[in-house]
Symmetry: D2
Subunit: 417 residues, 4 copies
C-alpha cells in the first residue's frame, strides 16, 4: 500500500478490536450512548473537533485541513432487538428497551459495527496523512438508521448550520458478499421503504363461543396470505416490490378470543407508481379481508415510518468505481443491481443539495461465493446468513475492515486531493 | 317468598352492592387478594368459620349446623385481562400483571362477580335461617377458574383433610340468557378443554430479503386458516368441537422478519375419540404447514393446560331441576344442550367422590330472548355480548342475583332439610 | 320367521340378484329407463297395477287388497356420476350424460339399488301374503333423489289425484353401519340442503402478465378457504351445519389466466335460523373475497336446488321402533342422531298431509363396527367407505336385503293389519 | 417512403383486410388449415415457392433471388380458446375443439393475425422490389406457438434439410404498446416457461359427510394460495419469476365431494437457478399442502410443455435497433426490459446455429401511453387489454401493420443488401 493508504494495514488490528468491542456492546436506535462515547474519544484522539448529542446521540468529528472541498463520511451506529447466536467470542449478550417498552436482547445484526470501525479506520488514516491532502473532513456517526429517523434528526438538529459545508456525502454498508469485494452503481441504489401498522378490529369473546365473536386472528391470517398476492399477482414481473408482514400480535389468555389484531407491514419499491399501486392493493386487501368476516369496523392503517429511494449521483458513482478499480483491481469491483433494502443515508446529500454515493463492501468468507459478482447468492443457497439474521456475524474481520477503510479513503481522496 | 327463601328479597340490595363492588375491583387468577378479603369478611360476619389462603387465595367458610349432610357451594373469584367498555357506573378501571409479565386492564368479563355475590346471598340467607335446617354448609370461594388451576390447587392444599366432608357439590355460572331463568341438565354439561402452545420455527432475516428467510408469519397465518378445516371438514356433523387460535405473536422491528411465531390454541370437545382426532389433525396441519414453507425444523407443540369434561350427576341434577320447577315455575327452568365452555368445578366432586351438579342462570334483559329456552340466541343474533367480551356486563342485577341466590338455597335445601 | 315374514328368507336370493343387476346397470337422475322397466315388470308379475312415466321415469305399483288404510312404500332409483372401483363382480361400467353434457361413468354409490331391491322384496312378500292383511299398498319407485327433484316431480305429475290415498309414507336408506341393524328416530331425521352456484368474475389475460388481470382462481381459492370459517367460527357449537364446496372449475389453456371461476356449494342445516345465518355468511365471504382482489364485478350466486328438512312423525316413528325391537331384538334397533344428509322422501307425506317415517338400515360387515349404535364410525376410522364414495359397495348383500325387506313389511303391517 | 419501403403504404389496405379476415377466422394450434391455405395462396401469388403441411399445418414460402445471405422471416398462426368480446365488425365467432375435447370459442387474443399480415406485407414488398436486393428469403408461417410445439414440429419435419439455409432468423410480436413504436433489446428477450399438471388425490364421499373424506378442493385451494408465496417470499427481489395457476378443475355433482382435483401451473423464469428453485418450491408446497389434509397419497406433478429462454443475438439486435432508429426515428425505438412471456421462435435460430432476433411492435392507440417507452403501462393502469384477454383487439390496424411490415423489411435488408 502506498500514498494515502500507506500504513493502513498496520492500523487495522486496532480497528478490528474496536469493531469487536462495538459488536459486544450493541445499543438500540437513539440509545447509542456508550457507542457514541467510544467513537467520540477515538475521533478526538485522532485530532478531530468532536460534537456529541447531535440529533440525539449522533457524533460529528470535523478535521479542517486547509482550503478545498468538504467530504462527509458517514457510519450508522444502532443495533437491532435480536438475540445473537453463539458463534464468536465477542458475541453480544446485551439487552435494551425496545419500542414496545419490553427488555430485549440486542445485536449488531446489520453490521453497523463494521461501518463504524471502518469509518474510524479511514478517519484516523486521513488524519495521519493530513499533509497529503487539503480540505475539510466530516466524520459523521449517525444514530437510528434502523427505522430511518436518525439522519433526519441530525439535519433537524441544525447539522447544516453547525458544521462545515461539504461537497459530497459518502457512505457504505456491509453486504453478504466476499470480503475485499466492493459493489457500487450509478443511479438508484436502494429501495423506498414504507412501514405501516394495521389494526384489525374484530369482536372479542369466549374461546368456546366463536359464533358470538368476529375472530381478528382469522382476519389477520387471511390478510397475511392474501397480501402475498400483491407481489405475486398485481405487480408486473418487470417491476420490483417486496411486501413483508414483519410482525403480528393478537390475543393473550388462551380461552379468550381477542378484539383486535395488529400487523406490521414493510414495503419496498423502486418506482413511485409501483409504490402507489402496492399501497393501494394493501389497503384494498386489508379492508375486504376484514369485511369478509363481518368485522364491526374497518381496520386502521397508519404509517410508522418511511425511507426515500437512495439514489447515487451517477457521475460521482462512476468516478468512485473507476478509482476502486484502479486501486483494488477490476476483479474486486462490481456493479450490483439496485437493492430492496433501504437507507436514510441519502438525507445528508439531499439536505445539502450535493451529490452522495453509497456502496457495499463484502464481509464474508470468499469460498462461499463462487461468483463474487452476485452478492447474497450464498444467502439464497442457504450457506450464509442474511442481514438481520441472528447469525449475521461477518467473518474475516481484518481483511474486510482493511478494504472498507481503504475504500472510504480512496473515495474521499477523489475530492480531497 | 316463604320458608328458607323468606326475606331473601330484602337482602338482595346488599348483595347487588357487593356485586358492583367486586365488579369494580376485578383481580386476575391467583391474585384475588382484595376479593378474598371482602368475601372472608362477609362470611365471618354471617357466622362462618373462615379460612383464607387455601390453594393460594381461596376462601372457605364453614357453617356447622348440627347433624346431617354436608353441602358444598362454590363460586369462582378471578377476572380476565380485558379492557371493559364504558357501560355502567361501576365499570372496572383496574389493571393487573398478566401471565406474560405485562400490565393489563382487568375485567369481570365472565361474570364471576355475580357468582360470588349470589354465593354470599345464599350463605347469608342459610345462616339467617339456620334453625330451619340441619347439616354442614361449606361456602367455597375458588381462585383461578380461568385457566383451570384453582380447584385443583385447593384440593392439593389439603381441602378434603382440612374441612368437613360434603355429600354434594353445587355450583352455577351466569349465562347470556334472560334474568330469572335457570338451565340444568343431567350428564355432560361442559366440554373438555385443551390449550396448546405452538412455536413455529422459521429463519429470520431482513424484511427486504425474504428469499434468505423462512417467514414464520406466513407459516403461522396459513396454519390458522388451515386449522379452520378441522371443525369444518374433519369432524362429523354429529360431533362437536371448537378449535380457537386465541393468540398469535411474532416479530417486532418493522424491517426484520422474525425467526419464530407463537400460536396459542384452545380446543373444546365432548367425546374422547373426537378429542383425539382433533388433536391429531392439529398436529398434522401444524407440521405440514411449516414443512410447506421449508421450515428448518418442526414446530414445537406443548400443552398449556386442560379442563376435564364437566359431568352432572344425573339423579341429583334431575332432583334439582324438579325443585327449581316447583319453586320458580316450569317456564323458568330449561334443559340446555351441553356447552362448549369448560369449568374446573367438577374437581371438588371428583376428589371427594360425591355427586356434583352445575347449572346456569340468566343475567340479561329478557326482552332480548324471544325464546328463553335458547341461551346465547341473542349473542348469535348480535344483540347481546357473549362471555369474555369487553361488553359482558349483566343487566338487571337485582332480579338476576335474587334468582341465583334462591337457586343455591333451593338446591342446598334438598340435602340440608 | 313367521307370520307376514314367513318365507321371506327363501325369496331373498332373487332379491339379491335383482340388486346386483341394478347395481351393474346404474342410471343418472331422470334417466332411469331400464331401471324403471325392470321394476315395473317385477311389480306387475307380483300382481300390482303398474303405472310408469310418473314424474318423468317414476313407477307406481298399486295393490288394492280390501278395505283399510293405505300405506306408501318408497324407494329411489337414480345413481351418481362416479367411477366405481373394482371390488365386486357386478361392478358398474356404465356411463351416462351428466348435467354438464359430458359422458361420465355412473355408479350406485349411494345404495339406491339396495333400496329398490328391498322394496321389491317387501312388495312381493306382502302380495304373497295378501290374505293376512287388508288395505291398499303403494310401491313407489321415485326418480332423481340426488338433486332432489324427483319426489316433487311425481307430485306435480298428479300423484295424489291419480293414485289411491295413503295414511302413512314409509322409506328407508342404507347406511354405513352393520348389516341387520336398523336406525330410527322421532322428529328431525335429515338436514335441509341448499346448493348454490357461485360465479366469480375476474379479468382474464396472459399467464405471464398477472398484473394486467384479476386472477379468478386466486379469488376462488381464497373463497374456499374462507368458507371453512362459516362452520368453524360463525355457527354455535350447539348448532349443526355443513358447508361443502363440491366443485370448482376455471381455466383451460396453460398460459391463459381465465376470466371466471365457478364454484358449486352444498349447505346442510337443521334449523331455519342457522340456515339463514350460514347463507348470509356465504354471501358476505363470496362478495368480499372477490372485492379483495379488485374484481370488476360482484360474483353471481344462484340457487341450484334444495331439500327441505326431513322430519319423522314422532308417534309413528316410535311405534315403528317398538315393532322393530319386538321383531328383531333390541340389540338391532338404535336411535341415531339427526343426519346431515338430505332426502326428498318427506315430499310425499307433506303433500298428502299424512305422517311419514324414514329410517336407515346397515349394509356392511358387522366386524367393522365395534359399537353398532354408531353408524359411520367405521367411516370416520377410515375402515369403511362413506356414501358417494367410489368404494361404497355394500357387503353381505343377502342379510342386508333380508333385514331391509323385513323392516318394510314389519312397519307396513302396523297399518295394514 | 423510399428505397425498399417505397409503395408499402399503398399496399397496406390489402394487408389490413387480410388481417381482419384472419381475425374473423381464428384456428387453434395445429388446426390452422384455412389460415395456412390463405397464407399459402398469398405467398404463391407473390412469386414464392410454397410448401404446406410442414410440421403439421406450417407453410414455408421461399424466394430465391440470386446469390447472398438467407433471411428467415417467421410469423405464428394459431389462436386461443377464448370468447372474443363484441368490439369490432370483424369479431370472431368461430369455435374449435380444444385439447380437452370440448368445443370452445376461438379468438386471435394474442395478435398472431397481425404477425401473419405483417409477414405477408413484408414478403410481398420484398418480392415487388426483388431487383433491389440479392439473396434468399424464407417466409415461415408456423403453427402452434401457444403451447410451444410448432417450431420444433417444423424442425422435426426436416425443415433444415428441405429448405434453403439462412443466416439470420427474424420475428416479431405485437405488444400492448402504442402503434408505430418498436421494442428491441440484445440478450435475453423472453422468459423460459414451464407448464405443469398437478393432480391432487383426496378421498371422495358425500357432501354431508366431510369427515369421511379428504376434500381435494380444500387442498387445491390452499395450494393455490400457498403458491403465491413462491414469488412473494422465496425469490430474490433482484430475480424475476411468475407462477400462475391457469386452471383448476374438480368435482361435478353438488352433493359429492370429489376424489381428485387438477391444477394447471405455468411458470416463467429468466435464469436457470431461479427456475430450479421455483420448481423446487412448487414441489414442496404441493406435497405438504396435500399432506396437511391427510391425503392418501402424494399429488402427481407432470410437465405439460415448456419453452426455452428466448435470447437475441446481441450484435444482430443492436444492428437492427440502429437501422430502426435511422429509418423510423429514435422516438419510435425503445429497449424494453426482458419480458415474462415466452416464445418458441428461438428454435429456428438455435437449430440452424445462426443468430436470431425478435422484437415487439406496438398495436394500440398512442393516447393510452403517456410514456411510449413503457409497453404494458396502459394495461397496468387498466386502460388497455393485455395479451390473452378477450378484449385484446389491436386498434389503428393500418399504421400498426405498416410499421410492422416496414420493420421486417428494414431488418431483412441489413442482410439482403
Amino acid at each position: 500500500m502506498s500514498g494515502l493508504l500507506a500504513g493502513l494495514d498496520e492500523r487495522i488490528t486496532g480497528v478490528r478490536e474496536l469493531c469487536e468491542d462495538l459488536h459486544r456492546h450493541p445499543e438500540l436506535s437513539f440509545q447509542e450512548v456508550r457507542t457514541a462515547g467510544v467513537l467520540a474519544q477515538r475521533l478526538r484522539a485522532a485530532g478531530y473537533e468532536v460534537t456529541t448529542g447531535v440529533g440525539g446521540t449522533g457524533v460529528v468529528g470535523v478535521l479542517r485541513n486547509g482550503p478545498g472541498p468538504g467530504v462527509l463520511l458517514r457510519a450508522d451506529m444502532d443495533a437491532l432487538p435480536i438475540q445473537e447466536v453463539e458463534a464468536v467470542p465477542y458475541r453480544s449478550t446485551a439487552t435494551g428497551v425496545a419500542a414496545d417498552g419490553t427488555e430485549q436482547p440486542v445485536m449488531h445484526a446489520c453490521g453497523h459495527d463494521t461501518h463504524m470501525a471502518a469509518l474510524i479506520g479511514a478517519a484516523e488514516q486521513l488524519a495521519a496523512h493530513r499533509d497529503s491532502w487539503s480540505g475539510t473532513l466530516l466524520a459523521v456517526c449517525q444514530p437510528a438508521e434502523e427505522g430511518g429517523g436518525g439522519a433526519q434528526a441530525m439535519i433537524d438538529d441544525g447539522f447544516l448550520e453547525r458544521f462545515p459545508a461539504f461537497d459530497v456525502a459518502l457512505g457504505q454498508h456491509i453486504a453478504s458478499a466476499p470480503s475485499r469485494h466492493l459493489y457500487v452503481r450509478p443511479g438508484v441504489f436502494m429501495a423506498a421503504a414504507d412501514s405501516l401498522r394495521v389494526t384489525v378490529h374484530g369482536r372479542g369473546g369466549h374461546g368456546a363461543q366463536p359464533q358470538a365473536t368476529v375472530d381478528p386472528i382469522v382476519i389477520a391470517s387471511s390478510t397475511v396470505l392474501r397480501l402475498q398476492t400483491v407481489v405475486a399477482r398485481e405487480i408486473s414481473p418487470d417491476d420490483v416490490a417486496v411486501v413483508t408482514v414483519a410482525a403480528v400480535h393478537a390475543g393473550g389468555k388462551e380461552n379468550v378470543i381477542p378484539t383486535t389484531a395488529e400487523l406490521t407491514l414493510n414495503v419496498r419499491t423502486f418506482d413511485p407508481d409501483v409504490r402507489e399501486r402496492v399501497l393501494d392493493c394493501i389497503r384494498r386487501i386489508v379492508r375486504h379481508e376484514a369485511a369478509a368476516a363481518g368485522a364491526p369496523r374497518e381496520p386502521d392503517i397508519e404509517p410508522i415510518n418511511g425511507f426515500p429511494l437512495l439514489v447515487n449521483d451517477s457521475e460521482a458513482a462512476l468516478r468512485i468505481a473507476d478509482a476502486f478499480t484502479e486501486q483494488f483491481g477490476a476483479e474486486f469491483v462490481h456493479e450490483p443491481p439496485a437493492k430492496a433494502g433501504s437507507e436514510d443515508f441519502g438525507v445528508f446529500g439531499a439536505a445539502a443539495e450535493v451529490p452522495s454515493v453509497f456502496w457495499n463492501f463484502g464481509g464474508f468468507d470468499p469460498a462461499l461465493y463462487p461468483d463474487p459478482a452476485k452478492p447474497n447468492s450464498a444467502v439464497a443457497a442457504g450457506k450464509a446468513p442474511g442481514n438481520h439474521s441472528p447469525e449475521f456475524v461477518p467473518t474475516g474481520l481484518e481483511p474486510t475492515l482493511l478494504r472498507a477503510s481503504a475504500a472510504l479513503v480512496t473515495a474521499a481522496a477523489l475530492w480531497l486531493r
